[in-house]
Subunit: 208 residues, 4 copies
């Protein structure tokens, strides 16, 4: 039984570059690998899987509402790599889990954990429920040197909580942030340290 992997990371954590590197390694070893991406993500042209670093490759399959992998796809296959997996449907993720489990083909899904309101995407949720291995691809906060865990939406350079949670083609308006910098900018609060000094004498209940 092969495993279903979820490798999650914030915006700009080089998830796609990791996927392309994995694809490269498989192929260098003479192994057959399929690259999938959701139809939804057509920022770079339908089939393009493109890393911000410049590296790119074409996906083998675009996943639409009715896509199912067939024995033709799975025959002699050594691995499946999925880009932008947060946009997959729960049903397709169950399909991938079944392939890993019953056909002994490792499936590695790369994607965001949460949207800019810190809510799981539908695909991320099902992956966090079903994955055999959950790994983080780390990156640093846009504003400090701590690890980024959230994705902040910027409209005209200011943090925003408005709009739909899927809005592609506007990648430049999302930045990775740690919990403090996210809170500071989204809630318009002062930095936690200055707050702490100020509020030391007040009830937590009041400040929360």
């Amino acid at each position: 039984m092969a495993k279903l992997y979820f490798r999650y990371g914030a915006m700009g954590s080089a998830k796609t570059l990791n996927l392309l590197a994995a694809a490269h390694s498989y192929r260098q070893q003479g192994k057959k690998v399929l690259i999938l991406k959701p139809e939804l993500d057509n920022r770079f042209g339908n089939l393009k899987v493109k890393s911000r670093s410049g590296l790119e490759k074409d996906a083998d399959i675009l996943i639409g509402p009715d896509t199912q992998l067939t024995l033709d796809h799975l025959s002699h296959l050594n691995g499946i790599l999925v880009d932008e997996a947060q946009f997959l449907t729960p049903t397709f993720i169950e399909h991938l889990q079944q392939i890993a489990r019953d056909f002994d083909i490792p499936v590695i899904c790369y994607g965001l954990r949460t949207d800019f309101r810190t809510q799981l995407f539908a695909g991320s949720k099902r992956l966090l429920e079903l994955a055999d291995e959950i790994d983080e691809i780390k990156s640093t906060c846009q504003y400090c040197n701590k690890k980024a865990i959230f994705n902040m939406k910027l409209v005209d350079g200011k943090a925003s909580l408005d709009g739909p949670n899927i809005q592609l083609g506007a990648e430049e308006s999302y930045v990775p942030a740690c919990a403090s910098c996210y809170e500071d900018r989204v809630r318009g609060m002062k930095s936690s340290k200055s707050r702490r000094a100020v509020e030391e004498s007040e009830a937590v209940v009041a400040t929360i």
Copy 2:
């Protein structure tokens, strides 16, 4: 800024023993630590935090619908440990995240990832969205030697998908399972290997 940790594991993965070990280490170093548990979990008496291995300790605070930690609790505090964190409300988890972030107190939450229908608990969901670090506490499947990732409900020794997702005091009826053994028992299917041999010539679409 301290971190919010989610250490998840299947039934029987010694999550509570890990919590008690962490509490012991803190106290051995002369550090102050708070142990919390949801009011809901009253299997062993209201305050008892009890590992299946026999070790136990009293929780300092039972978390009810209106519980909020105050400055009295947080003053000179070095850590917060939470048992059965899957049963917390999203609101209380946001409260914990704020404490880690703004009061620089590490918060370590131990809990199940999913219920016996492979769905996230409300508490696990919010933790998977907000945690700075997500770690797995590993254990083995009840039926084979692979890693357990799911929790299976047994009624009269048989896998079941019926009933509410929170049912305490009946701990003996949940067992840890890997994806294959879960599938075999819950769906009543044959083992993946024999299936594979049989179905090699059929369309995946048909078999899934």
Copy 3:
């Protein structure tokens, strides 16, 4: 093929408690598990495997210079757990790796990474070379809230770099420390922050 695991942690990180928890889980599932410990470690009586939290159990086998596991030991065995693995010989670790690989029995070794002079133990070195999985069991520094990565030797309450690297029965004289607190105490240096302010204008070459 099963795996060889090395779960390393500093003094007081509850390694032994983790081992006892794993043994408990195996046995609760009706699985057969062997607990091994090096003969060398006779602090608690020859066979005793004892956690600082109070929990204890007898080891099944004491590993001496000529110990080899036989088919009698390995027959119907589901797992091998090793306490204080840093004291094993490289040869015995190769023996364990072979058992995991050729007999499909997972071997989980718990031990320290380095001695009080930040040098690998002979057993830890071979484990770090051969292990399929290397996991950290985390704990906090004795002096601050950061993660402990080193073990500091205390003689009359003061950090020391003298003496043999194996000295058992004197457990109270070792404490876990982060890199800063270790450096401060072992080298007698000021805290890195004050140093930094002072030396900001000097060449690093001179200060290192």
Copy 4:
């Protein structure tokens, strides 16, 4: 205090690509990062840091026997990335640890764990002793679908244990392998499964 990271992986695990991705992320955020590599590694021209996937960048500093980073290097620096860190001297790794600890600059070292005889390199050894975080960059075995943990040397397509442990410019003669495939090819043994069947009745002592 920032951390010293060791991200180890077998040949072909895209360590360099990970480094280049990290450098890209830092610079995209307007942060200053230094890329270092040992002088020793001059396969692609002295300064070139080149991934097998095609991506490449120039290193900022070549580390020779007397290299020390100065305040000029460290001023306003947000991160240090080191390629082929297994070839560093223990002294230089202590230098890097000091920079992370005292100058609050994260240092991320990428490198091999062991040579083709499964022995730690001098640089890997010191990193495994001092690193605050040890992470694995995973890749698959050249011969099967399991995780690669060793590096096998091939001479005329056959596994070899001869020669110096540093031999650059001949990259094509090293391949990643799991423990079983390494053993099978290096020791010329049969696969563990067939061995097991044959030897079931013999003493392990005799077969090991």
